[in-house]
């Protein structure tokens, strides 16, 4: 079985990046697996699993011209991962507050110490230039249970009482 590669492409956002990149891969016989493509701070970022080729070099050769044309940084890694290895999150943490240095570091350190395995973290800065606020959503697995996370968040709130923190279970319904 051919390996999967993790392809990273990052650069100034412009219309048509996804279509051009994926078409080129398709025309060269590659296929795509799980992917995340989004705009962050005016840049467009692509991280995607690409299969169908046997070496990093071949994939680099296919992608280099388009990366140069679109001024994207290109990185290709052979990975161990496969499809169908989803893990299911059981908790969701939302944190927001006036933006300041260290929110992510402090919150995630406390949560990691309390057994949270992060599967997905997305954060954003909103508000006006003079008064930005920070919003962070985390989905993860509480490997040491719910109350450990509660305690961790409580400690954060005691130190930074103006932060808004929510801990919510993600209940899976399978039908």
């Amino acid at each position: 079985m051919l390996p999967w590669f993790m392809v990273t492409l990052v650069g100034q956002d412009q219309a048509g990046i996804v279509a051009q990149v994926t078409n080129l891969l398709y025309q060269n016989g590659c296929h795509l697996g799980e992917a995340s493509m989004l705009r962050l701070g005016g840049n467009f970022t692509i991280m995607m699993m690409v299969g169908g080729m046997d070496s990093t070099e071949v994939l680099m050769q296919i992608l280099r011209p388009i990366a140069q044309k679109l001024h994207l940084h290109l990185h290709v890694d052979k990975i161990e991962g496969q499809l169908h290895q989803h893990q299911l999150p059981d908790v969701r943490v939302t944190v927001y507050g006036a933006d300041r240095v260290g929110i992510v570091a402090q919150v995630t350190s406390a949560l990691a110490a309390a057994g949270l395995n992060i599967l997905d973290l997305e954060s954003d800065v909103g508000g006006i230039n003079e008064a930005p606020f920070y919003v962070m959503h985390i989905e993860g697995i509480a490997t040491q249970g719910w109350s450990a996370l509660e305690t961790a968040l409580q400690t954060i709130l005691r130190e930074q009482p103006d932060l808004e923190v929510q801990l919510a279970p993600i209940e899976m319904v399978v039908m």
Binding site: H86, T94, E150, L167, E171, M172, V173, V174
Partner: protein, 171 residues
């Protein structure tokens, strides 16, 4: 009784609309029994629709009683179910025996009023909420050829209010 084979997406039968049940006969009882066996054989399965086994009739079973600390009606056999009224909405994570290896966030009503017949054809009205209401909505969708992946909401911009545990700094 027999355990039936579950259809999995992209089987086109999952996208078809099921017909109302008109005969409350031995054949229907057998279908209900087989559906229940199939549902109970699936780990974590709290509901099943006849559509999921390729039987395009409006028959659903829901049983969320295995879930602790929630209100529920136990084992529900819902034939020709109709939602009479609904209220509130909440985002929640769903998976489906017919859509393996995939889960996603779906908005559902938090409170439902429902009318359905039982396997003898007798009509019952139900008022339900939360987890059970979500399961029923998911199953009723199957009868109309709708999968939860037809109703996914964006993960990144989920602005829906959900019941959540709100920490305060009072302690």
């Amino acid at each position: 009784m027999a355990r039936l084979t579950l259809l999995t997406y992209p089987d086109p039968r999952l996208k078809q609309v099921a017909e109302p049940v008109s005969q409350f006969d031995a054949q229907l009882q057998l279908l209900v029994a087989d559906l229940e066996e199939t549902m109970r054989a699936s780990p974590g399965g709290v509901g099943i629709a006849a559509t999921q086994v390729g039987h395009l009739q409006r028959v659903v079973i829901v049983d969320v009683s295995s879930k602790p600390k929630i209100s529920h009606h136990g084992r529900l056999i819902l034939i020709n179910p109709e939602i009479l009224d609904w209220e509130g909405f909440e985002i929640g994570r769903e998976g489906c025996m017919s859509v393996p290896d995939y889960t996603g966030n779906v908005v559902r009503a938090t409170h439902l009023q429902l009318v359905a017949q039982d396997e003898q054809g007798k009509e019952h009205k139900y008022t339900m909420e939360g987890y059970e209401a979500r399961a029923v909505q998911h199953e009723l969708d199957h009868l109309d050829g709708i999968l939860f992946i037809d109703r996914l909401v964006s993960r990144r911009r989920d602005l829906f209010q959900r019941k959540s545990y709100k920490k305060t700094n009072s302690s």
